[in-house]
Amino acid sequence: MFQQNLQNKTILVTGASSGIGRECAIVLSGMGAELVISGKNEERLQQTLQSLSLGNHRLLAANLTQPDAVAELVNKLPPLNGLLHCAGIWKPQPIKFLQPQTARLIMEVNYMAAVMLVSQLLQQKKMLSGASVVFVSSIAAHQPYKGGAAYAASKAALEAFAKTLALETAHAGMRSNCIAPAMVQSPILIQAQTTVTEAAMQHHLNQYPLRPGVPNDVAQAAAFLLSDASSWITGATLHLNGGIALL
């Protein structure tokens, strides 16, 4: 398999305590990147840290919805060549029963955390010239589904933010892009399975022209966008969906 090179790159990975974030951290470390992994749960971050390929990796636990915690995290960071922002939550609620606190929580974790983190990274001058920022968005930002109003809105907001960041930082050679995966085998899929039914989820998974995703699919795309191989790509969204958007 074509091996992408991330040697001599220091990259912050958020949401690294589980799911897509953890898999991305493992894959990026295997490509030679030096990582700072972050997430809320220190114990699970330790498990991720132990799974990484050899290297000078660090763990900094933080709750990214708290402004002070974000500023403190950024203060401790080394200068970065890249940020892979995987932190996110999912909770379905039909609009008729969409509770303000649920909508706010989803926006805070999926959108506001990114805003505060990137703002602090720029203010504290932690992004090196040529740095690449990658946000994990979702197919939901482009294709709505029932019960997904708050989640889809948060990811659409994230994509608009990423494009603005691309414009505002291009003069420094910085890049900002999104990955929009469809259904990936992750804790969120397990959560979705119990919310609908396993049969309904299986029906959805059977529709993929290629196949549903695995975390490694997202990790490989993230590695490409973080590497110099993608140095002319900014303000873009890379759609990973096994062809389901064609239907």
Binding site: Q93, F97, K146, T194, T195, E198, A200
Partner: protein, 79 residues
Amino acid sequence: MSIELFISQFAEQFDETDPTEFTPHTEFKRLNEWSSMHALLIIALIDAEYNIPFTGEDLQTCTTIADIYQIISRRMGSG
């Protein structure tokens, strides 16, 4: 909390079905109006009104409205 109240909350999620059709013995999945959207609405209704975990898998096991109410009662009792 009573089954009468739950039945009226359940019935409110329907626009075309006559409210008198909803009883404890109603086999809700056989209603003409029943759809996957109603499944989502009932799960969200139970979350909003009763604040207990209730999943699609739970709904799958239920045939009548009383079946759903029994699960709610049991979980509220143990909570």
